[in-house]
Each structure stands twice: as C-alpha cells, then as structure tokens.
Symmetry: C2
Subunit: 131 residues, 2 copies
Amino acid sequence: MSKNQNVSDYKSTKQRNKIIQVLQDAKRPLTAEEIYLLVKDELPSVVISTIYRNMEALKNIIVKTVYNDGKARYALTKEKHTHNLICLKCTKIIAIEKCPLEALEKNLSEQNSFEILEHKLEIYGHCKDCR
Amino acid sequence: MSKNQNVSDYKSTKQRNKIIQVLQDAKRPLTAEEIYLLVKDELPSVVISTIYRNMEALKNIIVKTVYNDGKARYALTKEKHTHNLICLKCTKIIAIEKCPLEALEKNLSEQNSFEILEHKLEIYGHCKDCR
DNA sequence: GATGCAATTGCAACCCGTTTGCATCTAATT
DNA sequence: AATTAGATGCAAACGGGTTGCAATTGCATC
C-alpha cells in the first residue's frame, strides 16, 4: 500500500515514465498520437491505447483540452497555466504565459454566483509568418 | 446566378430554414443531435447528415465550438458574441454577455505579433444550485 | 406552367479519435 | 520465488462526424 493516499498505488512502468517525460519536454500541449509517436521512439511496442489509459490514470497531473479539430491535447498541470495562440494557416502554437483571465475570474465568479474551477481559452488567428 | 457573391446561391429549403429557426430560438449553443431532434419535430424525415451539411453550408453565420466532451456546439453569430459558464455537475450552461477578453485582445495581439481572428473561452465550475 | 440543372436531401457506408474486453505481462510486496 | 493487482498489447467496438450516390427540390429560364 502507498504511504500517500493521493499518489495512490499506481505502478511505475517504462511506458508511464516515458509518457511523463515526453510531456515534461513538450513546449506545447500534445495530441495522443504525438505522445504515442514520441514514446514509440524509445518503446517500439507501445500501443496508442496505453497512451489513452495513462492520460486517464494521470488525470490529476494532466490537463486535457479538446480543440476545434476534434482532437484532445494533453499537458502537465503546471503552477502557472498557459493559453495558446493557434495559427489557422500553419497550425503553429504559441504559448502565452500570462493568463489574461486571472484578474477577471473573481468578478465573473461573483457576478454569476458561479464557483470557477477551470477554464479553457484558445485564441485563433494568423501568426507573424503567415499574415 | 446570384446578385450578391457573398450570399452565394444557396437554396432555401424547409430543412435549412427550420435549422436556422431552431438556432435563433436557442438560448445556448446546441449540439448537432439537439438541432436534429428539434428539426425532426417538424420534419420527421430529416437525417443528421443534413444537419452537419448545413452547419458547413451556413458556416458564415454560425460559430462552432468543440467542448471537452468531444461534441461540437453550434450557435448563430451575433453582433455581441458570448461565452459560457458550464456547470460540471448539472451541465447547466450560463451565458456571459460581456466578453472579458475584448479589452485584452489588442495588447495580446501586439505583444505576440499575432492577428487575432477568433477565440474560444469556456469556463467550468459549479453553479449556484450545485455548490 | 413546363424544362433544365445545380444544390440539397435521405440513406447507408465509412472515417478516425477514443474506448473497452480480454489474455498476458510486470511492478511491487511478502 | 510466489503472489497479485495494476498495466500493457492487441483487436474489436464505439460514437461523433463525413461522404458517395441516387433521388428530390428550389429556382432561374423559357
């Protein structure tokens, strides 16, 4: 049994460790397939359902966001969460470090009697190179 | 041929007209299936692919947003766009009329040399009744 | 009103991201 | 080393959305 009830008794497997490493190295949220391909470089026998099952198993430390293309992106939860500028031409993704909503959440929450737990913001447009 | 190249030569069909009416009456963005069921009340022979094809045909006047449940929601483009507070317990959706990003877009755009065309913001949490 | 024709629809099959059942394997404890 | 619950690989299934095709319909022209 684990000493820490939050960590639970999940096992440490090569697949899981590599998945976490891939997400740590990622500069932007990744799709399941992107994670799969990166993990496969090192563990060729991995299958994509292992990725999906780990996204579920690790959900406490992962944020999932479904983009308008219908594919989910996964990223490790960080102290400072980020949002993305997504280029509609080249699909480049640029992270914005400062969350523009931070300052507004309190008001929004009070005005609507709504307890805000999380939010999803993506901004679409054209990047410098594609304008 | 049409007199107006923007309006294009789309035909006015009962299905299309009813779809638009359903969206006009809607108080929140609807899924394809919700639209389908509402249209079906009046036009029982309609099929769901007709809904999807019309979402594509009408894309100039419709905003599509994929939520984290993997389903797209559709709403008519209005002068003032809205965002939603989405309750994670009862799935109630509360519209916020004032877009909290309006004021911030200009800065964001300049700081990142990014031409902002649209954005997607959804806020998740617990509504008054579910807290 | 009849004709021509492209847009639209209904239907069924398909696509693709994601999930699941099951047998096997493996990490972690004894 | 034996035990066993959790994890993995594999293949099949699921579900939202898309597409090919033949039949229908809106609409411009006669």
